[in-house]
């Protein structure tokens, strides 16, 4: 029979000599995608499947696995990724409810399904699996709720309904309570022999590798999505998941074990060996299902400073896509497999049995951490002729990045020097000492040429130990998964843009007869608008002869964007620099397109395609423009170009050279952004401009005679800077970051007079800061000029303002968006001239006749607790000598 088992098993080397694997034969035509397993008191096995079925298996331990008999007990459930049998009552965790299944009439088929609890959120996203199902001594059930994966950025798990990303407790009366938060994909829950709850997570965003966590009340495991359902975040109406690093990053629970990526990609549940030795020499250790790599891992945890940590070993490979493990009463380890849709080692589904064949393999039975190394206990004595020296042990260590992206490589790998190896008198354990063993690192040790009596080699030569803490000395507050810089700014829709009508739609514009309102077509006359109070549109209906809508700023190269809505017969146009017109007309899609068609370049060329969808519909027109070039004498040397024109994203012109103005207005390097308003009613909105940056030109056009740019902030440290009040200023990832209480950060030098300053700046939502110059160091609000930095703080003076001298109300740049700040300050005859540019566009240009501030520091403001200011470049230049 052993031979039969062997022949059925998928064997690999010597693992199979000690642990045989065989496979039960599923009922004909059925596919068992196992999600839960437990045993009835009479030894029958109960399994739940992802197909919502529950099968009862008679004779699961039959010598010939083909003798096991399957009976369908229940169908019609919605998955079953957890199953518990207590007192012969069967409980199944479905995606949407925890249920008790009862056969009322004793015919072997479930008749009644009691809904114990269904009060947790489901949005309908495919990834919202519910995993279970261990119970504690009081009969409480524990479940793990997956975060959701939405496309396209599936790797950023979301928690759009409560309590995705949480571990929950369901009491026997059906009430449910959150236990701990920060899970990503908590596929496996289980208890150790002491009754402590653990769960495994799957590597991905915020989970650098697959961890095993000890679940303690109120713990945070690291994935931020679920934090949105904490009282703290419900009260603020903000999203914890938007913050990098996440809130509570510093208070994360330590994983008891980080399973190395090469061994684990998708762990399932874990079970303790409580077989009393019937499964071999690993009493009370944890066995963990590993789906992708198709095996079972073994974990030996210990408590160091009161917290679990320990070692993981390979145990039995080449089984199949094991999602669930459970011990049968006789000490056989049953493996339930499924990998549908995910992939993993074959077999992809069904039931496998792992049986100890009685021999004791040469293994590392346990590993205990020492202050300077490990004590390794073997299952057998080391051979008498096998002397152990440091050269038998290769020790490395590493840590991880704690970040938003998919898993983390092992980081900062070091090779540690093994200094001594002391074998015990009975030759069954060895003390391995090493230099520089550190906390908050994972250690990996590979043993070489270790042989037991009789020449039996070590079956598995490697362990990975998660060192959250060393046994002695000061405890560390560091984590193995280290917080790393936020992601590089994406090429987001927002960065680089100036929102010319956001927050105040009229401040930067000149016009007659326009109003800010909400708009729709009049029901009785679609050639007219009906307006009502609102802020979503600018409409030219306040006068019989309204004007065009004209920017005060003179703009050049860049991308111009306008949203528009036309009534029937509407006629408007976007005039770049007031001279080159793209037609905005209520043109008919069926008509032959001419140079008055919506999207046409006026009088020059029809659009490449009709992209206009009709009156009463908002459209978005975007023009990527390059201005005409002129020589020093003012003669045009190069024509202006429409590099690209898009209507609702559809390309309607590409690289069109404009030989001259389309309306007779003169051409110039700079000109206003104009929308026609004199012809018919039109509604416009969301006027934006993204300048094409040309810093050299910007420098040339800066008034004054300036020397070279030098770093005020070196990107590295705040040496020489001074901090007022009780402020928190740090350098992280090459940027100055101000947080905490109100405070100011003063540059080392305090003698700047005429100065030209450039900074790259980002302010948080609700944050407030400022770039000071000619400022005197001191507590409280210091004396000096302040270029305001404020996107969404209630103070009406926003970014671009010279604080209290020249206020700007429009919110040019959104919060959490990097922008370029360029501030020029110089004394001229009439006073102190201050020019503030945002993303290169002059916004404030004033002369302070009072010359309020003469010299001083450059400084940054931290306005209030909760605000976050980041400055990643800060340069200055002073008058050329």
């Amino acid at each position: 029979m052993i031979a039969l088992l062997l022949s059925l098993a998928c064997v690999q080397g010597s693992e199979a000599e000690f642990y045989a694997v065989d496979y039960l034969t599923p009922p004909a035509g059925e596919v068992l995608e196992i999600g839960g397993m437990d045993f009835l008191s009479d030894g029958r096995l109960v399994v739940s499947t992802r197909r919502g079925q529950v099968w009862i298996v008679e004779e699961p331990l039959a010598e010939d696995p083909a003798d096991a008999k399957f009976t369908l007990f229940c169908e019609g459930l919605w998955e079953g990724l957890g199953l518990d049998v207590t007192d012969d009552e069967i409980f199944v965790l479905q995606r949407g409810e925890l249920s008790k299944l009862t056969d009322l009439d004793g015919d072997g088929v479930c008749d009644r399904i009691d809904t114990l609890c269904n009060r947790w959120g489901l949005s309908g996203n495919y990834h919202e699996f519910a995993f279970g199902l261990p119970r504690d001594e009081a009969g409480n059930f524990y479940i793990g709720l997956n975060v959701s994966f939405f496309e396209p950025e599936w790797w950023h798990g979301k928690s759009s309904v409560p309590y995705r990303g949480w571990i929950m407790r369901i009491s026997p009366d059906g009430s449910i309570a959150p236990v701990a938060v920060g899970a990503r994909s908590p596929c496996g829950l289980g208890m150790n022999s002491a009754g402590d709850l653990f769960y495994t997570d799957n590597q991905g965003d915020w989970m650098p590798a697959s961890p095993i966590f000890h679940v303690q009340e109120d713990a945070f495991f690291g994935h931020p999505a679920g934090l949105d359902w904490t009282d703290e975040y419900r009260a603020t109406a903000t999203y914890a998941s938007d913050r990098i690093p996440p809130p509570r990053a510093a208070q994360r629970a330590n994983a008891a074990l980080w399973l190395p990526y090469k061994w684990s990609r998708s762990p399932g549940n874990l079970v303790p060996d409580e077989t009393g030795g019937r499964f071999g020499p690993f009493e009370d250790q944890l066995f963990v299902a590993e789906l992708t790599n198709g095996m079972v891992l073994r974990c030996d945890l210990e408590q160091v400073r009161g917290e679990y940590q320990g070692a993981v070993f390979l145990f039995r490979q080449k089984i199949g896509s094991v999602a669930r493990v459970a011990f049968a009463p006789d000490g056989t380890l049953f493996c339930g497999m499924t990998n549908r849709g995910w992939g993993g080692l074959p077999p992809a589904d069904g039931l496998a049995r792992v049986r100890w064949r009685g021999g004791v393999p040469m293994e590392m039975a346990s590993v205990d951490l020492l202050q300077d190394g490990f004590e390794i206990e073997f299952t057998r004595p080391v051979a008498a002729d096998c002397e152990l020296t440091p050269s038998n042990f290769v020790l490395t260590d590493y840590d991880y990045d704690y970040w938003w992206e998919y898993g983390s490589p092992e980081r900062d790998t070091r090779t540690l020097e093994v200094t001594r190896a002391e074998l015990s008198a009975d030759r069954k354990s060895v003390l391995v000492h090493a230099n520089d063993l550190r906390a908050a690192r994972c250690a990996r040790m590979v043993l070489k040429d270790v042989v037991a009596e009789g020449g039996l080699p070590l079956l598995h030569d490697e362990f990975n130990y998660t060192i959250n803490q060393l046994p002695e000395g000061d405890a560390t507050t560091e984590h193995i998964a280290k917080v790393v810089p936020p992601p590089p700014a994406k090429d987001s829709d927002e960065e680089g843009w100036l929102r010319l009508t956001y927050g105040d739609a009229t401040e930067l514009w000149e016009f007659e007869g326009w109003q800010l309102c909400d708009v729709e077509l009049a029901r009785d006359d679609p050639a007219r608008f009906e307006t009502k109070p609102g802020v979503n549109a600018l409409v030219n209906d306040r006068s019989d002869s309204p004007s065009d809508y004209v920017s005060k700023a003179r703009l050049g190269d860049g991308t111009y964007q306008v949203g528009f809505l036309l009534p029937k017969g509407g006629d408007s146009g976007l005039l770049i620099q007031g001279t080159y017109e793209v037609r905005i007309t209520d043109s008919q899609p069926t008509s032959e397109m001419d140079t008055d068609h919506c999207g046409a370049i006026a009088g020059l060329r029809p659009p490449l395609r009709n992209a206009y969808a009709g009156s009463g519909i908002w459209h978005e027109l975007q023009v990527d423009f390059q201005a005409a070039r002129f020589d020093a004498a003012g003669n045009k040397v190069e024509n202006a170009r429409f590099l690209e024109v898009r209507l609702d994203g559809q390309l309607i012109h590409e690289n069109v050279e404009l030989e001259g103005s389309t309306n007779g207005e003169p051409e110039a390097p700079l000109g206003p952004f104009v929308v026609r308003g004199a012809r018919t009613p039109v509604a416009i909105g969301n006027l934006r401009f993204k300048p094409t940056r040309d810093r050299a030109r910007e420098d040339r056009e800066t008034p004054g005679d300036w020397g070279e740019w030098t770093d005020v902030f070196d990107g590295d440290s705040l040496d020489g800077w001074s901090i007022s009040d009780d402020g928190t200023w740090e350098v992280d990832y090459g940027a100055i970051i101000g947080t905490g209480k109100a405070s100011h950060l003063f540059s080392p030098r305090g003698d700047y007079a005429d100065v030209d300053i450039r900074a790259e700046v980002k302010i948080s939502d609700g944050g407030n800061s400022g770039l000071y110059f000619r400022v005197a160091e001191g507590p409280g609000w210091p004396r000096g000029y302040e270029a305001q930095i404020n996107s969404s703080y209630p103070d009406p003076q926003k970014t671009g303002s010279l604080y209290s001298i020249a206020p700007i109300a429009v919110q040019l740049v959104g919060p959490d968006t990097w922008f370029d700040y360029h501030v020029t300050c110089r004394d001229v005859e009439a006073g102190t001239h201050i020019l503030i540019r945002v993303n290169g566009v002059p916004i404030t240009d004033v002369i302070d006749p009072d010359r309020r501030h003469r010299t001083g520091h450059i400084a940054l403001q931290q306005h209030h607790e909760g605000s976050v200011i980041e400055v990643r470049k800060l340069l200055a230049r002073e008058p050329a000598k």
Binding site: S123, Y126, E153, N339
Partner: protein
């Protein structure tokens, strides 16, 4: 005329139940070669020529081995296409959006799966559940029952022998509709799971917002499902009624299919208990069908019958007969629904006669 009516709603007949095995789609050889060339050009440097994850490029985490079947986002063609399109940020896996066309990425996605072990094959025929002589209850997500309706994430189907299916929303326990025909296709048995069920019958009665089985209460109430029970061909729901979060009544609801003179219909028998074993009488305040065309009361001290007709579409009417026994403290009320293609007052009278409880 009545004979003609009888024929109409029996749209039953099981819908395409098939258990034939489907052959996996095979790829024409030239297409396969083209996909292989793309793989060698774009993937092999990391994933290896054989797809074993052992490419020449030195990576900080080894590339996935397709031979062993492991994929971070899933091994469905859509999931692989998505991974090829977006890459996996934080890993060496780049985005091929731009570098490869949609068709090329689709071809690669299909090719890569062929390198690995066979994926769990789901015989589509087997995903179609049927009802034999025993009622079947199925839980899962239900697609919108009507235009403009929402997915019902926690849904429940009761399939009765004979081809009538009752479609419920579990949250707040509401009947959404009644179908005749095939039972249900389990679309969640393919891919990574989590997809909605597909009820297969023809919709005969529709309550897009759902109707509670015990509607007429003094105060707003919510309902919480306690159990579903199957007894041979019968199926019963049990749920609690809560007011201000507190238990006020236990409800037992049994739906059944009916064949009336006018055609196929169903009844919904709802019994309320204030506590276990004590039945109470439901109070009906009014007939609330806004689309009501005929509204007829017959009162003889003991019995109230309310007929309403709800126009489902051209020549399709839903006739509802509601009965209430007054002064008799026994099972409260009965709602009977019948489907017909025409309506007249004569028929109404005939129906009321036929449906004496």
């Amino acid at each position: 005329m009545i004979a003609r009516l009888l024929l109409l709603p029996l749209i039953g007949a099981w819908v395409g139940v098939s258990s034939t095995l489907q052959e996996p789609e095979s790829t024409p050889p030239d297409e396969h070669a083209a996909s292989r060339a793309l793989f060698v050009q774009h993937c092999a440097s990391c994933h290896g020529e054989k797809g074993d994850g052992k490419g020449a490029t030195d990576l900080d985490r080894q590339a996935r081995s397709f031979l062993d079947g492991g994929f971070s986002y899933g091994n469905t063609p859509e999931a692989l296409f998505r991974t090829l399109t977006s890459g996996i940020p934080g890993t060496p896996m780049p985005s091929f959006d731009g570098a490869l066309t949609d068709d090329q990425r689709r071809a690669l996605a299909s090719y890569v799966v062929t390198l690995g072990p066979p994926i769990t094959h789901v015989d589509e025929g087997r995903t179609i559940l049927r009802v034999e002589d025993r009622a079947v209850v199925v839980r899962g997500m239900l697609p919108p029952i009507a235009d403009g309706a929402q997915d019902v994430v926690r849904g429940l189907l009761i399939g009765l022998p004979g081809g009538t299916t009752f479609e419920y929303a579990v949250d707040d326990v509401r009947l959404l509709g009644v179908r005749r025909g095939g039972f249900v296709k389990r679309r969640d048995w393919v891919g990574r799971g989590g997809q909605g069920l597909l009820p297969m019958g023809t919709l005969l009665a529709l309550e897009p917002e759902g109707t509670a089985g015990f509607e007429y209460l003094e105060k707003p109430a919510t309902r919480r499902l306690r159990s579903t029970r199957v007894e041979g061909p019968r199926a019963v729901l049990e749920y609690d009624i809560l007011q201000d979060g507190a238990f006020v009544r236990k409800i037992v609801e049994e739906v059944s299919a009916k064949e009336y003179t006018l055609g196929a219909g169903y009844s919904r028998k709802v019994t309320g208990y204030t506590s276990v074993g004590q039945e109470i009488q439901a109070m009906r305040k009014d007939a609330v069908y806004s689309e009501m065309k005929v509204h007829q009361f017959e009162e003889n001290r003991q019995l109230v019958r309310v007929l309403s007709v709800h126009e489902l579409g051209p020549s399709r009417f839903q006739v509802t007969v509601m009965e209430r026994k007054t002064r008799v403290p026994e099972p409260s009320r009965k709602i009977t629904k019948v489907f017909t293609d025409r309506w007249s007052d004569d028929l109404a009278a005939a129906l009321v006669e036929e449906l004496v409880w």
